[in-house]
Symmetry: C2
Subunit: 181 residues, 2 copies
């Protein structure tokens, strides 16, 4: 539900001094879908949501990202425009490095390289599992698990965010929250 990468977080701590940090307040948008990025961000603390806005105006939340997760790495590696937007769900502290710096670390620091490889592989795995679940199960089968996960974290999401995460309308979400119990 909320991804973390403590390994990378540790690694970033060893790099302090070489990186800049910035604070982002709730609701502020760090990355705008479709723009060109010049920096890569790594979350030091807080939670962000990463979402795609489609032409019909609807949003789909891909993931909630927490400590040690990277933003903009896909774009830096592929040298393309951003495919999603990122917004702070709680106050954020992020490390900032330029694309060039990021690519350089990948090239020259084996530990960093392997951590990013693992992170990307994990992203593929998670997003594959998520979309398979959403396509093959009814929401009433998925929701219980989701609610359990939510209980485990201390943050409360808005209904809107929850609905966008599972890819349904708020109306349907409300219905589901009522009926099965």
């Amino acid at each position: 539900m909320i991804r973390k990468n403590l390994q990378l977080l540790q690694l970033m701590e060893t790099l302090e001094g070489k990186t800049i940090q910035r604070n982002i307040s709730v609701g502020q948008r760090l990355i705008h879908q479709g723009e060109s990025l010049t920096n890569v961000y790594i979350i030091r603390s807080g939670i962000a949501k990463c979402f795609i806005t489609e032409d019909n105006g609807k949003d789909y939340i891909l993931e909630f990202l927490g400590e040690g997760e990277v933003l903009g790495e896909i774009e830096a590696i592929r040298k393309q425009q951003t495919l999603c937007s990122v917004e702070a769900v709680t106050p954020l502290v992020v490390y900032i490095m330029s694309n060039a710096q990021f690519l350089d670390l990948l090239r020259t620091m084996p530990d960093f390289n392997i951590v990013i490889l693992e992170l990307l592989a994990t992203r593929v795995a998670n997003s594959s599992i998520k979309s398979a679940r959403q396509q093959l199960y009814t929401l009433s089968e998925i929701l219980p698990q989701l609610l359990t996960m939510l209980d485990a974290q201390k943050i409360t999401f808005t209904k809107q965010d929850l609905a966008e995460y599972v890819g349904i309308s708020v109306r349907s979400l409300n219905r589901l929250l009522k009926e099965p119990g």
Copy 2:
């Protein structure tokens, strides 16, 4: 629709002699979901489908993979069991290397490393876009694009495969193919 990676294909050609090849016939399953893998495969020719089977017995096709695409790299990098199955849709020729060999290439061959990084980044991007589309649009909005793509390729998929790719039942697919026209 059918992913390819010509860059990696070229790279593999330069490595011939160091790798083994194998032929896979139509319908044969190369990778079984949940098993432990000891090898990484790279498609030299042909098309494979990569799919997840859920507990309720339904399948969801993540991608169709063609020339230069890799199989089992996620598992080799993460050292975990396979998250999906892979089956030959057309006859396949694949390069085979051991996990150790794959990880070694990543470590020692910068070109290989960057190609795999790009490939993983592209996977994340594609799968994100695919699931956002499927959640936010009605199938009747997606199907036309899909059919256009299909036309471009020469292979014909079974209705079953098509339905599993878009995550609906064959019945619904048939309905959609009738009505809008």
